[in-house]
């Protein structure tokens, strides 16, 4: 996080705000609600309180304006610059301006007013832009489905104002650090020749073209997928990726989530009702066999016959000796299985049933 140069802050904790005018894109009640929720994010984690004034001069004046609106920082039409806000202080200090040339929404379509307001109010309170892509104070617009303060945002605002008096204040999500030696994964899949790693709300992507590991929100590709994906596999011959969470699964083709999903794993694959979720999954392109790992057992599913093979489940330890009794994630590449459990990664040769190497889970990120 970054505090604004000069560390400007409000010297009082009971602040006021007023919405000077309304965008025609939403009802006044929807605008009021979005702004109120945005203030609540910050008051939940600090001693600050925010009171809405119906008229007169408030500490934080909120308005929808376009083009040159005489604050020395003209807007630029639709796209580009969406909004801006001034650091704490008298007069224009703390004020937030939203570009009326944008379309303001209360859903995942561009641009979600709640999401942008949460960011701008961070500026109104003394925060600058954060380099943490998972933080609300990251400068570029990314709507990840839910609007929540990341731990980075909380650390920043509490550096200025301290914690809230409410003992049950929320903690924030942590953005994965690709070179953190303690990094673990929720799911991993091959995808059109690349590898995609999943953790909480984020994906990480390593490809040969660009050495830097790409990290961003899963919602950038698939807005309707939930965070916390538990398993994923590529069905290469149909160019599909299947994502699993709980007893549901989704199928995507490129960036499109296929219609009719999510579906239920029991009716689709024939799992017994005792199976509540899948830990990991991988499909072999050459045999059409998909392996599902659940606790210390695994099932084998025939994608051609679309039914579970007989004699399953079997014990993981029996057919994949040495990789332990639980799998977080798995993929197959160049004929070998790569099993992940915690920070460990096992390269496994199914022909000889032997582990060929043991590595750190994030060894693919060239740290």
């Amino acid at each position: 996080f970054v505090l604004t140069q000069g560390n400007p802050r409000w010297e009082k904790t009971d602040l006021t705000y007023r919405i000077e005018n309304y965008t025609p894109d939403l009802s006044e009640a929807e605008v009021d609600h979005a702004i109120e929720k945005a203030f609540q994010l910050w008051s939940n984690v600090t001693p600050l309180t925010f009171t809405k004034l119906p008229a007169g001069q408030a500490d934080i004046m909120i308005s929808f304006v376009r083009g040159d609106h005489h604050d020395n920082s003209p807007f630029d039409g639709s796209g580009g610059n969406l909004a801006h806000a001034f650091q704490p202080g008298p007069g224009i200090g703390g004020d937030a301006h939203f570009d009326e040339d944008e379309r303001w929404t209360n859903n995942y379509r561009d641009y979600n007013l709640y999401r942008v307001a949460a960011h701008e109010l961070g500026h109104s309170l003394g925060l600058s832009h954060s380099t943490d892509i998972g933080a609300l104070m990251y400068p570029n617009y990314i709507f990840s489905g839910d609007v929540q303060l990341a731990q980075d945002d909380i650390n920043g605002i509490q550096t200025i104002y301290g914690p809230s008096k409410n003992p049950t204040q929320p903690t924030g999500s942590q953005t994965p650090e690709v070179c953190d030696s303690k990094l673990t994964f929720d799911a991993i899949t091959t995808i059109r020749g690349e590898l995609m790693f999943f953790k909480d709300r984020f994906y990480m992507r390593a490809n040969s073209v660009y050495p830097e590991v790409e990290l961003n929100f899963i919602s950038v590709f698939w807005p309707s997928l939930p965070s916390g994906i538990e398993a994923a596999y590529e069905l290469a011959e149909r160019d599909e990726i299947r994502f699993f969470k709980g007893s549901k699964y989704w199928a995507v083709l490129g960036q499109d989530v296929l219609r009719g999903y999510p579906k239920d794993i029991h009716s689709s694959f024939g799992f017994p009702r005792t199976v509540k979720h899948i830990d990991a999954a991988v499909s072999e392109e050459d045999t059409g066999k998909t392996y599902f790992f659940v606790a210390n057992k695994y099932w084998r599913y025939d994608e051609y016959k679309r039914s579970m093979d007989a004699g399953y489940p079997k014990m993981i330890a029996h057919d994949f000796p040495g990789i332990g009794h639980k799998v977080d994630a798995v993929f197959k590449k160049d004929g070998f299985f790569y099993f992940f459990h915690g920070t460990r990664q096992y390269k496994f040769d199914a022909k000889t049933k032997r582990i060929l190497s043991l590595q750190k889970a994030n060894s693919w990120f060239n740290c």
Partner: protein, 80 residues
């Protein structure tokens, strides 16, 4: 593959405007060559690339241009 000249020109404009708007780059006048090569443009470009975790090249490569074209928060001009 070589970029068509007009695209190149657009990119130069995009870089210039972005750095003036968000990285307090002073407008260095009209001559395109002076803009592109001026030390301050390279320096500001490196600052931006550093911030976004891009490869710090000082050159407007594809990844950098992609980030520059994403909608974002403005930085109101408090200084003046």
């Amino acid at each position: 593959f070589p970029v068509a000249p007009e695209t190149q020109q657009q990119d130069v404009e995009t870089v210039q405007k972005y750095l003036e708007k968000y990285y307090d780059l002073k407008d260095v006048g009209t001559h395109i060559e002076r803009r592109r090569n001026s030390g301050s443009v390279v320096e500001k470009l490196k600052q931006m690339q550093e911030f976004f975790g891009l490869r710090v090249t000082g050159k407007p490569d594809a990844e950098t241009m992609k980030v520059m074209k994403q909608p974002r928060c403005g930085v109101p001009d408090v200084a003046r």
